[in-house]
């Protein structure tokens, strides 16, 4: 399934991240890596996933993503760089 970057979804996710972390919304760009650039820790990330799940009515398969990264079958950037995270969310919304 393919999906495209959605600016509204990006803005909503950036809003959630800014609300739940120390990151200022103006610092968040489509190229930002949620961990390496924005410094979001695992507990904050869980809060963010919870809010994204609720807002979009999806269940982000973060455990599966981490397995794929750890097995070397996917690059972490595919999931944790903002523009790619937005595309993953759009894929999940389309499948919901």
């Amino acid at each position: 399934m393919t999906a495209e970057f959605n600016q509204e979804t990006f803005d909503a996710v950036a809003e959630i991240i800014a609300d739940l972390s120390e990151v200022d919304k103006s610092e968040i760009t489509p190229e930002s890596h949620t961990v390496n650039d924005l410094g979001i820790d695992s507990l904050e990330f869980l809060d963010i996933v919870f809010d994204i799940d609720k807002k979009f009515g999806i269940k982000m398969p973060v455990e599966q993503w981490m397995e794929e990264v750890n097995e070397g079958t996917r690059d972490g950037d595919d999931f944790f760089v903002m523009k790619n995270l937005v595309i993953r969310i759009e894929e999940l919304r389309a499948a919901a």
Partner: protein
Amino acid sequence: MHIEYFQLVDRVETIDADREHVTCIATVPESSTIFEGHFPGHPLMPGTLLIEAMAQTSGYMLLSRFDFDRLPFLIQVARARIRTFVEPGTELVVKGALEHDGSGFAVTNGEILRGEERVADAELRFRTMPFPTDDLRDIVREYASRLGVSS
């Protein structure tokens, strides 16, 4: 309730078919070493243990929901309210309701009642992980079964 063993639930009364709601009974013991310090001559159930009772109640629901394949660990307590004092010998009804079943985590709303009176409530978040050992899973399953959780 065996406070010293951190077993704060006496029995699981109900878990609904969707395994999204649970009700437990927890009776505060008449005596415990904890009451010697909390407080001398004025024994009260510590609020932190009321939160733990809500966490254990939701935990049994999550264990059932995951068919004892995953173990929930309390990682966050939000909007906790301890609304009144709880004395030794008090029978409490402890409830949990699933708010969200996420990937590797779950969120529940916990509540404690004494009769019709609300004693405490909180939002609870859990990390859910595979059991570290099969032995622990067997022990937890057996104990939960004794409390009334069917697997």
